[in-house]
Symmetry: C2
Amino acid sequence: MQADSALARELRHHYLFSALTEAQQARLLATAVPRRLAAGEQLFSRGDSAGQFFLLRSGCVKLYRLSPDGGEKIMRLIRPAQTFAESVLFMDVPRFPVSGEAVDAAELVAFDRETFLGVLRESFATCRAVMAQMTRRIQSHWDEIETLALENSRYRVVHYLLGLVPRNAQGRIAVTLPARKMVIAAHVAVTPETLSRTLRALSDEGLIEVAGDEVTVCDVEKLRCHMH
Amino acid sequence: MQADSALARELRHHYLFSALTEAQQARLLATAVPRRLAAGEQLFSRGDSAGQFFLLRSGCVKLYRLSPDGGEKIMRLIRPAQTFAESVLFMDVPRFPVSGEAVDAAELVAFDRETFLGVLRESFATCRAVMAQMTRRIQSHWDEIETLALENSRYRVVHYLLGLVPRNAQGRIAVTLPARKMVIAAHVAVTPETLSRTLRALSDEGLIEVAGDEVTVCDVEKLRCHMH
DNA sequence: CGGCGGACTTGATGCCCGTCAAGGCGCCGG
DNA sequence: CCGGCGCCTTGACGGGCATCAAGTCCGCCG
């Protein structure tokens, strides 16, 4: 790998690597393997045995599971500068718990599990960072579970929208949807049709305004209390 | 605390403590606070700032969130010998992300956050144990999200039942429901009525047999492929 | 430009499932 | 023994949402 310097610079701001010494980072890079994926290409399947985790450098990757009836549930969308499949680091028999596939053409780096565990042993700060990150992930899962457990689709959509606006936001605020509406519909477990209808109903009631993938919430407070 | 020896014995088999030296365990116990809860008594509310996590010694505790319309979603049921709210260990501003309340009268021990973090710094083995546990939790959340995202209630119930049987189970197998049916219904986001009807339909079709909280799956394979 | 395909929207229809209500059953205290 | 109280079950009904099917809009490419 000779494009190391650019990669090393990217790593410096990543939670998994920022607390490591240069020497430790070098050890990781020595066993790192670059990889390219075409759009739609599969990276791994649920159940595959796993010896590495990944950093996405460009493009977009989805982690998903297939439901029995052929539908797919997207568990997470990976954006550039995010790592994923770190969970294989800590499993006794490391297997991927989800499938991973490139949405857009992607450029990524695979890090070796054992090498990283060796480095981790020497860096408590990185351990803490990992645990903090996992804590955040668990809480975002709780949010998602909370959304999915809501009885009707309107609540789920509103709950999802509220999850997009910053915690302390007030009044009027614009957000851009993080993915195509089809994908979002899958996230909140409704059909694209219902999502469309629900957004229309909300905008007819003057609660939001929709323009493409730009959604502006007219009054965050009102929308929040609209859930009650 | 003079009932220490019994408590110390319980800790020895717990993932958070088993890798610690006697001295480290002693440090933890020195700042541990025993606590009793009556049935229905609240331990903490979502959003409360948190300086400790808990080990349940007897009874039953539920972690839950209230939905806007007053319904509650149980995120996790805590059984004796389990710790909970460990996530407060790793948050920058530690707050409880869910509410906690005793279902049955409960006996528990509160451990001090800072003390535990101090011990954790000295034990990489415990770090690994924590990360492994969090990994398992994340994956069980994925399972739950997968369940909740299933479109109809029959699939959700079957998926839940299949989650109860051991991974490699085959043929006929009996499981006992881990909670009252009302609670399970909440878990899979259906009403108790629908759960009841679904179980009846499944047993009418000869797929399962229900007797109280004992459910025997007549043929795991058939039930599994029944999802497809 | 004009044809094509994919994403989104909108409409009509049917059915799943939530709601309400009435029973059956075990448990408890009187 | 009875009466009361939860929990579970079963029934009837209505609404919400998935499904199917057009229709619109837009980007793409020949």
